[in-house]
């Protein structure tokens, strides 16, 4: 293995250990999505009709947590405590810090997704063709991109206690208002309009389309929206990064 890969692997391993030793991280990432999905798709009466619909949107929810907390809270904390400065004086390959965080985030997200998929398949009676499962997995994992940018912006701009508060607000806000728990059709019109400004809403719509959920959708519009939002958030993340370095 090349030096770069070895450092990346070691850094990723360390990052996962750090994450998994924190209750504040485990609860919103590995417990809440599976718990909420069980509640909404299995336990509540009449929910089995919704199980497939909810699988699409709860997959987004499962990726949102690791991205926002794994980047927002931890980058802010590590920056404030000087760990980022130490990273810049060791001979680690460029990008291994962010790269390792990304790997760790995707791995935790994959576990959270596996939990939900298992509950959907085994307990909620969701039946999808194999290619659809994989397409859904791809959409869910790729949805980490805009959320990671949001996490980076929080992590680089906010002091660490502010980052914890803001990450929670963003996490719950994007979930509830973006229709990840309850479809936005049941929302009042104003809130429906608001949802269309949130990346979580557009990602859920894309996931729903891929999973073959009924209903009329404007997938091209969703894709365009999410592309623009990701680009803007990505730019914001780069600015935040450059800002903390100087």
């Amino acid at each position: 293995m090349s030096r770069t890969l070895r450092v990346l692997a070691a850094e990723t391993g360390a990052q996962i250990l750090i994450n998994l030793r924190q209750m504040e991280f485990i609860i919103p990432t590995l417990v809440m999505p599976a718990g909420f999905y069980t509640l909404f798709a299995v336990v509540l009466p009449g929910s089995s009709d919704n199980a497939a619909y909810l699988l699409a949107s709860f997959g987004i929810f499962a990726v949102l947590g690791p991205a926002v907390f794994g980047f927002g809270v931890s980058v802010a904390n590590e920056r404030e405590r000087g760990w980022l400065q130490l990273k810049r004086v060791v001979p680690a390959p460029a990008g291994s810090y962010v790269g390792a965080k990304l790997m760790a985030t995707l791995l935790v997200a994959a576990i959270a997704l596996a939990e939900i998929y298992a509950i959907a398949g085994f307990f909620a009676g969701v039946e999808l063709d194999q290619p659809v499962w994989f397409a859904l997995l791809a959409v869910h994992l790729v949805s980490a991109i805009p959320f990671v940018f949001i996490g980076l912006i929080i992590g680089f701009f906010m002091p660490s206690n502010g980052a914890v508060a803001l990450s929670n607000i963003v996490f719950l806000g994007l979930s509830a208002l973006g229709g990840l728990w309850i479809p936005i059709i049941v929302f009042p019109p104003l809130m429906q309009t608001f949802a269309s400004y949130l990346p979580s809403y557009h990602l859920a719509e894309i996931a729903l389309a891929v999973s073959g959920a009924p209903g009329e959708r404007d997938i091209t519009g969703n894709l365009a929206n999410i592309a623009i939002m990701s680009a803007v958030l990505g730019l914001g993340a780069v600015i935040a990064w450059a800002n903390q370095r100087s």
Binding site: V7, A10, L17, G82, L86, R88, V89, V90, P91
Partner: protein, 304 residues
């Protein structure tokens, strides 16, 4: 200018807004030896180290480390760093931190050697979060030396250590120095500089106030310390000829003079009744106070 220098700076300047943190630093540090950087709070010690690490970009002037720009990846491979206020992540054990650091360096010490060298035994498998302040500091020191660096920056390495741990760290620093590592350390413990340093650099308000081999540093000020019990006040003591600084606690006066005879003569003239007169060679602390001006009594021990 010798191109074998490890560190070379010319007219190095750094400002933070209106504050000049470094003000024209000229330095040349040859390989080997322990260089102690002294100076009061805010003198620019940390800023200097950060500049040499490439963490801080100078406003003007030049800095070269291993003849490359500071922060170059080849420099980082040969440099160990313990920053003044940088912490390691809470969620890893000492051993796990070492395992990660070992991946960064070409020629890292194995953990057993490292733990022995830095005296990590007893807490090596505990999470960083639960370590005591001194144990954390020792862990940070271990991370600085794990890569067997040629150049080691230690920014206040012994702050927060108990006397025994401090002495242990001094031993390690001497061992590394004997192996040829160039060590730049900052400290507020003058005894530490006295015990360890081959060369002492005193920074004052971003400028180099003194830079000399440790055994010569006293000559940069020279003179002597006069102690006596007197009725004079601090202002008239400071106004005596050739006095660098003077301080008074109760009736006991202490002053550093460049010219013992001249000062003593004037002193005896102004206060014929003075008593308990002693004249001694200045300690490093006396010199330090002289070099960094604005000497305020550090500890105002009541003359009871």
């Amino acid at each position: 200018m010798p191109n074998t220098s490890v560190i070379e700076t010319r007219a190095l300047t750094k400002t933070y807004g209106a504050k000049t943190a470094l003000d024209g630093i000229d330095l040349s540090i040859a390989p080997g030896g322990v260089i102690a950087v002294l100076g009061r709070n805010g003198a620019g010690k940390t800023t200097l180290i950060h500049t040499l690490l490439g963490l801080v970009r100078p406003k003007s002037g030049q800095a070269r480390v291993f003849a490359r720009r500071p922060g170059h990846s080849l420099n980082r491979q040969r440099t160990g760093v313990m920053l003044q206020d940088a912490d390691l992540p809470d969620g890893l054990t000492v051993r796990e931190h070492a395992a990660l650091y070992a991946e960064y360096f070409d020629d890292a010490l194995d953990f057993k050697t490292l733990a022995g060298l830095c005296e990590l035994e007893g807490f090596q498998d505990r999470l960083y979060r639960v370590l005591s302040g001194g144990q954390k500091r020792r862990t940070q020191f271990a991370m600085a030396v794990i890569g067997q660096p040629d150049l080691l920056f230690l920014d206040e390495p012994t702050t927060g250590l108990d006397p025994e741990a401090r002495r242990a760290l001094w031993r390690v620093i001497r061992t590394l120095s004997e192996r040829g590592t160039t060590i730049v350390l900052t400290t507020h413990y003058l005894e530490e500089a006295d015990r360890l340093a081959d060369r002492i650099i005193v920074l004052d308000d971003g400028r180099i106030a003194a830079d000399a081999p440790a055994e010569d540093i006293r000559d940069t000020v020279g003179g002597a310390v006069i102690r006596c019990a007197t009725a004079l006040d601090e202002a008239s003591l400071s106004a005596l000829p050739d006095v660098e600084w003077a301080r008074l606690s109760g009736r006991v006066a202490e002053l550093l003079t460049r010219n013992t005879t001249a000062t003593l003569r004037a002193l005896l003239e102004q206060d014929p009744a003075l008593s308990d007169l002693t004249v001694s060679r200045p300690s490093l602390e006396d010199i330090f106070l002289g070099l960094t001006e604005r000497a305020e009594p550090v500890e105002n021990g009541d003359a009871a």
